[in-house]
């Protein structure tokens, strides 16, 4: 077994070995009842006395200067309180420049200082906000605001601009390329090769909860209800933009109705709701329409990619070339790391990776579930499948022959890698050996049947998290951390972890999250939240047990006198010397000491503490990344049916086998992995944001025309996790949130190739491409 963990070993604690009672169990989510009964209040559902409602006016030109605004018609609408434009809006501080010493500076979705400028940078940029007594009046009045413009030339056509792309610069967090040997020469010399071009369209997140904000000013104190993926960034950003101290801003986000990256950054709707509340002196709510989300919140960049592979006749890869062109907006947007997985997946002798960028006059792109790897795996894993066809090799066999022992581009060690096991188990469970390799050779009635595989890959990250844990004499435990619950089950998972770390029942633990008044948590991004909080939570629980032991040792009569922390295990609500040894409950320790509770904290929320924490985080991150390559990975198996008359593709069966390290809650993990696969099915078959190449306007800003999968498009999805901890990650956890969307589109395209003999290289795989 080549994937035996290679990291150094140490004595694992019971919680790490899974001998605790909660971690690993498929428990129901703690917020399930509130969500299914409607008791959970989302950002647009918080009542406030005197609440007013806001609506946006969007620019109808792509680039230009506003020459005049006629708000008379809007102002005459009964119930309208204010029409705020650049002509009358109070000044806001501009979004800050990005600095690695202040991660909050990454929060701006765009550098545009909304309503503080007459400049229009994209078609749909907000140019006014109307505040009224009702949402209906606000929206009606918004439609009556007349804006005139002086139009300026704009660059909006991604396909036309592809040739003008420039190489992406590397940064501390992301590399724009990589080179090993001479891949072009090796490709030219390879006896078998493929050299393919792939394209992916723009996509949008389409969270079930469109972006919404409720903002309440009380003097210079601001409270914001917002479904955000990053409470800390949002709080810091608003404090800076509105010139108030950070401590005056409170962000409350107990429930987030899906986000997928679309609620990571701070977008216009949020800032302008806060502005509207400032201007009117009223609490203001703005719930964006679905169209409003498309026009003001970034989506996933389109891409054009080249993957070229050269191999010897036995399948040994001699050359791997992966280049990409993606877009950013002129006023922001993150370069998408489309070649990321190509650094890690195959032991090619020569490798050339290069990411290129074009800048368009468009709403800045933003992270969307597995930015980079989701579209990058489509190209790479399709090309590998095509190479298998060219070689006459089974596509799994080709992958196994090129499975690396060490990270291919630089020889770093893998912290953990179980792709071989994933494929072996998957092939057995899926019945891969029943696949006849010849295209079109499998049928079911009138349908052509195809089977395809592809690898999933997503890097694992860990962010700083401040956590406090309090244990009370009645046995209850409260974990406090300002992390985010967007549906993944974070509170449930952390309660399970705390329960085992302290040896208390799961039901005794309550987790407080989603509020900037809590210790500062990590953002929900990069599939890093659970591991990041778990690391601090485990440390806090150790500190807490140490404090309790110290209390016990100081007070006479404790059976724990003279014991050292290493001798003790936490179970049955207390500390005990081994399975049968002496010990006592936390309640007894606290009672003897005359205390109601004990508390431990990890991380500091002071200004100095935060800077120190971030510096420590960055240095640990860079040190860690020099030593290890950490990632979740997996193997997708899918079966499709293709109608030979019409080209319609239906996915009929799915199995994903994943290495996500230790599984905290099998039910929630499977659910999250399944969700990623559903999103991947949409990406593969039906989703596409239509950006008119003439003016950059999004033409399908709604769920009727942007086709996310419906239930009938989703087959039964079998998910299996290998459940082996990563030795370098807290509790052995690898990220779960994004890995399963990667590879899905390729697995489908590969299955379609098997069913029809046709290789579709341009997503989505719609029926017209198979006629």
């Amino acid at each position: 077994m080549t994937s035996t963990p290679t990291a150094p070993t140490r004595t694992p604690s019971p919680v790490e070995t899974g001998t605790g009672r909660s971690v690993g169990r498929p428990l129901d989510r703690v917020d399930g009842t509130a969500k299914t009964t409607g008791a959970a209040r989302y950002a647009a559902e918080h009542p406030h006395p005197g609440l007013a409602h806001a609506a946006l006016v969007h620019a109808a030109v792509t680039r230009g200067r506003i020459t005049g605004i006629d708000a008379a018609g809007a102002e005459a609408v009964p119930g309208v309180l204010a029409v705020i434009t650049h002509e009358n809006a109070p000044a806001m501080k501009p979004p800050p420049p990005v600095s690695v010493l202040n991660l909050s500076s990454l929060a701006s979705g765009s550098s545009v200082n909304y309503l503080n400028t007459d400049e229009v940078h994209w078609n749909g940029q907000p140019v006014a906000v109307v505040v009224a007594e009702t949402p209906e009046a606000a929206r009606h009045a918004a439609g009556l605001v007349r804006v005139s413009y002086r139009e300026l030339p704009a660059t909006v056509d991604f396909a036309a601009e592809e040739g003008n792309a420039v190489p992406q610069k590397s940064s501390a967090l992301q590399s724009g390329g990589a080179r090993k040997g001479d891949a072009e020469a090796a490709l030219a010399a390879a006896p078998v090769s493929v050299d393919l071009r792939f394209t992916t369209p723009p996509y949008h997140h389409n969270a079930i909860e469109p972006h919404a904000t409720t903002a309440v000013w009380d003097g210079d104190r601001l409270t914001v209800h917002e479904g955000t993926q990053n409470i800390t960034w949002l709080r810091d950003h608003l404090a800076l933009r509105f010139g108030v101290p950070v401590r005056n801003v409170r962000v409350v986000a107990p429930y987030v109705g899906g986000a997928f990256g679309g609620k990571t950054m701070v977008w216009a709707g949020t800032v302008l709701t806060v502005l509207a509340a400032r201007v009117t002196g009223r609490p203001v709510r703005m719930a964006l329409t679905r169209e409003g989300v498309y026009r003001t919140v970034g989506g996933r960049t389109p891409s054009a990619q080249r993957v070229a592979l050269g191999a010897r006749a036995d399948g040994t890869l001699t050359a791997l070339i992966h280049t990409s062109v993606t877009q950013t907006g002129r006023t922001g947007g993150l370069p998408e790391q489309a070649t990321s997985q190509s650094r890690h997946l195959y032991a090619a002798e020569n490798i050339l990776l290069r990411q290129n960028l074009v800048e368009l006059d468009a709403v800045p792109n933003t992270p969307m579930r597995a930015p980079g790897e989701s579209i990058g795996t489509f190209a790479l894993e399709s090309a590998v499948d095509e190479l298998a066809c060219a070689l006459g090799l089974d596509p799994i066999e080709l992958r196994m022959r090129n499975e690396p022992e060490r990270n291919p581009v630089d020889g770093k060690r893998f912290a953990h890698r179980m792709l071989r096991e994933a494929y072996a188990l998957g092939a057995e469970r899926f019945g891969w050996s029943g696949r006849t390799p010849e295209p079109g050779s499998m049928r079911d009635g009138g349908w052509l049947v195809g089977l395809g595989v592809a690898s999933a890959y997503h890097p694992s990250w860990q962010m700083p998290a401040n956590v406090t844990v309090r244990l009370s004499a009645d046995g209850s435990v409260v974990v406090r951390c300002g992390f985010h619950e967007m549906g993944m089950g974070g509170a449930t998972a952390q309660a399970q972890i705390a329960a085992d770390a302290l040896g208390v029942p799961f039901e005794a633990v309550r987790v407080e999250y989603g509020d900037s008044d809590l210790p500062s948590g990590p953002g929900a991004g990069g599939s890093a939240q659970t591991a990041s909080v778990a690391a601090s939570l485990l440390a806090a629980c150790e500190k807490l047990k140490g404090s309790l032991l110290a209390l016990a040792r100081r007070s006479g009569g404790s059976p724990l006198r003279g014991r050292r922390p290493g001798d003790l295990e936490a179970r049955d609500g207390g500390l005990w010397a081994g399975p049968a040894g002496p010990g006592e409950t936390y309640a007894a320790i606290l009672a003897r000491a005359g205390r109601d509770s004990a508390e431990a904290a990890v991380g500091s929320d002071t200004r100095v503490g935060k800077v120190t924490g971030q510096l420590r985080f960055m240095s640990k991150l860079l040190r860690d990344r020099r030593r290890w390559v950490k990632a979740a990975c997996g193997a997708h198996f899918c079966e499709v049916r293709v109608d030979p008359d019409t080209g319609e593709v239906r996915v009929s069966r799915w199995l994903g086998v994943f290495d996500v390290g230790r599984v905290v809650n099998a039910k929630m993990v499977a659910s999250q992995l399944r969700g990623g696969i559903v999103m991947g099915i949409g990406m593969a078959l039906s989703e596409e944001t239509l950006v008119d190449p003439r003016n950059g306007r999004i033409m399908n800003p709604g769920l009727a025309d942007y086709h996310v999968p419906v239930h009938a498009d989703v087959p039964p999805i079998d998910v299996h996790c290998l459940d082996v901890p990563d030795p370098t990650m807290p509790l052995g956890l690898l990220g779960v949130g994004e890995v399963s969307v990667t590879g899905v589109a390729a697995a489908i395209a590969n299955a379609v190739r098997h069913a029809t003999g046709r290789r579709v290289r341009d997503l989505p795989v719609t029926p017209d491409k198979l006629l």
Binding site: A60, E136, R139, H140, G143, D645, T646, G647, E648, R650, L685, S686, L690, D692, R694, R697, M699, N700, A704, D705, H707, P709, V710, H711, A712, D713, T766, P767, D768, L771
Partner: protein, 331 residues
């Protein structure tokens, strides 16, 4: 949404008078299309006349063996009705292929007849659209037109008719009964919808003050063997790229009866008369089906975005007839 007055009409006469006296008035049925269009600011009626209380929700057998469907019959009820399922399975199937269960529970037969196009340029008030704003141009012809028509198009408009139900009604020779203060008249499906020509904003034969009161289906032995095939980008809740409503009667290997209509490819529910003509009396073979499909699509004109529909429609027609021949109506 622009503020408007709301009137609930207790009977047909009141409804007709309300609209006759007010050129800014519109009838409101299930609202599944009108309310959406009002929200988008495309429709801006001064008055909405709610007709859902009118006694027009019956489905009944006619003395000649045909069926009369009240204009306010909800789509879901129409699709489930035993008479429709037994005698006109293509209609039941077509209705079920449209929208979602929730929408079908609200949408009425009369409203479905008057459903407006889903062209994105029609829906976007910043875009040029001759249908929404006569003379402003057509955003779709040089823009996104993958969902657009290849038959019945003009230089002014290529918007596809979105209805599934209407395609089945066209194949079944349905007749639309309409009423106004001037009286009742009957309009065959074939002339109910108008191709865009130079006036794409005029979509039907209806005058603004006329109310659809019923749809009549003539008796048809052919219709008992019929099916609806809808090709779309996802399995449900998507408009047709191509759809085919087909009824077929074959005796001794020869086509003795046929009704054929296409959706998704034309500016109106497209009765496929050329194909029907080619099929009647021809041997019921794959080759005849293909030839009929080719005849129907011969006048089609595609743009880069939608030219694929021509071949897709040929294939869908052929496949649907083949399936009717070998399997008959769906169970």
């Amino acid at each position: 949404m622009r503020p408007f007055s709301y009137v609930s009409a207790p009977d047909v006469a009141t409804a007709l008078r309300a609209v006759a006296d007010d050129p800014g008035a519109k009838f409101l049925g299930g609202g599944t299309n009108l309310v959406d269009l009002m929200r988008a600011g495309i429709e801006q009626p001064d008055t909405v006349v709610d007709i859902t209380s009118l006694p027009l929700a019956e489905i009944g057998e006619r003395p000649d063996g045909g069926v009369r469907i009240g204009a306010l019959v909800r789509n879901s009820r129409l699709a489930a009705h035993p008479l429709i399922r037994a005698r006109y399975p293509v209609l039941s199937q077509a209705v079920l292929a449209g929208a979602s269960a929730q929408l079908r529970n609200m949408a009425t037969v009369g409203g479905n007849l008057l459903q407006r196009t889903r062209c994105p340029y029609f829906y976007d008030r910043t875009a040029a659209c001759n249908k929404r704003e006569p003379g402003s141009g057509c955003g779709a012809i040089g823009g996104f037109n993958r969902g657009h028509a290849v038959l019945g198009v003009s230089g002014a408009c290529i918007a596809a008719h979105p209805s599934d139900m209407c395609v089945a009604l066209a194949a079944l020779d349905a007749v639309v009964e309409v009423e106004s203060v001037r009286g009742v008249r009957r309009v065959p499906m074939a002339s109910f919808h108008r191709p865009p020509g130079e006036t794409p904003h005029v979509e039907t034969d209806l005058s603004p003050d006329e109310l659809v009161t019923a749809v009549e289906l003539p008796p048809s032995p052919t219709a008992a063997n019929s099916r609806y095939r809808k090709v779309r980008d996802r399995a449900s809740y998507a408009f047709a790229l191509v759809s085919v409503a087909a009824a077929l009667e074959v005796r001794d290997g020869t086509v003795t009866g046929v009704g054929l209509a296409l959706g998704g490819v034309a500016t109106t529910p497209w009765r496929a008369r050329r194909a029907e003509h080619a099929l009647l009396g021809a041997p019921a073979t794959e080759e005849s089906f293909r030839r009929a499909a080719e005849a129907e699509l011969a006048p089609a004109t595609g743009l880069p975005g939608n030219a694929f529909k021509i071949e897709m429609a040929r294939r869908a027609v052929t496949a649907t007839l083949r399936r009717l021949l070998t399997e008959g109506s769906p169970a």
